[in-house]
């Protein structure tokens, strides 16, 4: 048994960052994730981390660019409006192929919105977010344990692919307390050499340049082709998802993060009523587990996607399903967390509607 503690999700994420050998953290206060900056300002600094409360999220993400370019393992965190401000910087970081970890403790939007939990930033996180063709690797925890675990995984993925990685959680996961066990992890065994970093040019090598600029179209297309090739590799190797009780499932719930926990409870309630429901929980939101969705579409009669937004991941589910079975959606917005009872009700309605449709078709 490793080191087990009772912690808030935000604190677990911060503690994991220290243990993962994160050398520097740049951030700006915003609810519901300020505990990360607070925890690292105390505990992080005490244990040798460079922690700077920047003047804005814009400055934070550009400090991440500078520190990552100088070879450091580096992180920033924020919540939705702050993550929006970071999108230009993330685009530069993705283009310059710098490894870093970003966490978005999603709150309700649009605009200033609310400080309550939401999954309204799915599109922003998974489709690029900023300008240009790029992807960040997106991990979606659904427990405090995963808030910690995915910090280690996120840093390792970022370093492996020289690409930003993002933990997309929500305000509830950030604020709730659960048991968390920290894995044994020696950063020295995980952080690869970074011969490309700008650390000062010795006479023995050419100068290192960190840039996202290629003025000639042919050169910029080459940069894009290289990035796309990398993304295809990541898609081939790094897709992660969890399936629960799908072996005999006739209907499928699809949900990630906090919604997946609610959907799992609804699934158990449905099973108690004799409905053979299963759950697919995408863990990497990019790359997305389209193949798992597709293979389950061959098995079940319909799907219900549950999100804390107006329907975002449901588009990816439909891309995976390719019309094979009906896909319904249930979502709450504005910081409201759906209850398992609501989800069960929606599941039953979806089954009824989907069955009627199939009868009409045949």
């Amino acid at each position: 048994m490793g080191d087990v503690r009772l912690m808030k999700g935000n604190e677990a994420l911060a503690e994991a960052a220290i243990r993962a050998g994160c050398q520097a953290y740049f951030g700006y206060p915003i609810t519901p994730q300020s505990e990360i900056l607070e925890y690292l300002s105390g505990e992080g600094r005490k244990r040798g981390m460079i922690v700077l409360q920047a003047e804005s999220e814009v400055a934070s993400i550009n400090m991440v660019y500078g520190a990552a370019g100088a070879g450091a393992r580096v992180m920033t965190t924020s919540s939705s409006p702050g993550i929006s401000l970071m999108q230009e910087g993330l685009s530069y970081i993705a283009s310059a192929e710098l490894p870093c970890l970003v966490a978005n403790i999603n709150r309700g939007g649009p605009g200033l919105g609310t400080i309550q939990p939401s999954q309204g930033d799915y599109f922003q996180a998974t489709k690029g977010g900023g300008h240009g063709d790029y992807h960040v690797i997106v991990l979606a925890p659904s427990s405090v344990q995963e808030m910690a675990d995915f910090v280690f995984d996120g840093f390792d993925l970022a370093d492996t692919y020289r690409n930003p990685a993002m933990i997309l959680a929500d305000g509830a996961l950030g604020q709730m307390m659960e048991k968390v066990e920290f894995r044994e992890y020696d950063p020295a065994e995980h952080v690869p050499p970074k011969p490309w970093a700008t650390v000062g040019k010795p006479p023995t090598r050419e100068r290192n340049i960190i840039t996202s600029l290629q003025l000639a179209s042919e050169d910029m297309e080459k940069v894009n082709l290289k990035l796309q090739e990398k993304y295809r590799t990541i898609e081939a190797r790094e897709i992660r998802c969890e399936t629960i009780m799908t072996e005999d499932a006739e209907v499928l719930l699809v949900a990630y993060g906090l919604s997946a926990r609610i959907a799992q409870k609804a699934m158990q309630m449905a099973r108690a009523e004799g409905i053979r429901a299963g759950l697919l929980r995408p863990i990497t939101l990019w790359p997305y587990p389209y193949a798992a969705v597709r293979s389950l579409a061959e098995q079940v009669s319909g799907m219900l996607v549950v999100e804390m937004n107006a329907g975002q991941m449901v588009e990816d589910v439909r891309l995976g399903v390719e019309g094979r079975v009906p896909v319904s959606f249930y979502g709450r917005m504005g910081g409201i967390i759906p209850s398992p009872e609501e989800v069960l009700r929606e599941l039953k309605q979806a089954i009824a509607k989907q069955t009627t449709k199939q009868v009409e078709v045949s």
Binding site: E55, Y65, G66, G89, G200
Partner: protein, 264 residues
Amino acid sequence: MSETEVIENALTEEEQELFECVYERPGTLTDARFHYCPGCGHSVVHRLLMEVVEEMGIQQDTIGVAPVGCSVLAYNYLDIDMQEAAHGRAAAVASAIKRILPEKYVFSYQGDGDLAAIGTAETIHTANRGDNFLIVFINNAIYGMTGGQMAPTTLLGMKTSTSPSGRTVETAGFPLKISDIVAMLPGSYYVTRHSVHNPNAVRKLKKALVTAFKYQNERKGLCLVEVVSNCPSGWKMTPTEANEWLVEHMFPVYPPGDMKTPKA
């Protein structure tokens, strides 16, 4: 290839022995030819920076940050490790590099739009934190790269493509003297304004750059060296006219001299 090589090749070895080399391209500049317009101050400042880096023997200990603007490609010319920052964020990028590599020399190189418009917050907070690196600030009162638009430092009455009748207070406010603001902040250590419009000014600027690097080595805090420069293309003047105009119109608003020096 560089003009220097052509001249060297024109002389036999015996002839070369008769000459003493008094002026050559610093080894810290790459062989790439500057893309800057004829008469532009950027080339001179690039060269001076690299002369200082070479003479101080700190090429392998120096990391530069290029801005967005005419000098966005500075890393093509300066033979040191460099990062190219997003528009206005060079100071934030440099702040982070210096924190990761406190033993190294770090400088950002920024124009007036980059440093005094879109990057104002980063400039002020970097100075206020007393971050220990050098900002080289090229002030030519115009957005050169995008084709000559008004800058925060554009003079009143000055015509640009976005102030075609001349800058007015009513629509665009006043020229922003950002170096003076930086000098007022307790975190800044050395703030000085120079130019490169004649050889004497070039010599003075070089001294200021040496001084700033020396202070960085002593961990004194933020140093900012402003260079009042020209933009013959954007100002629609010949290089000579631009330099004369600079003395006549820029200096009254941006007078050369120290704004902040350590108390003896």
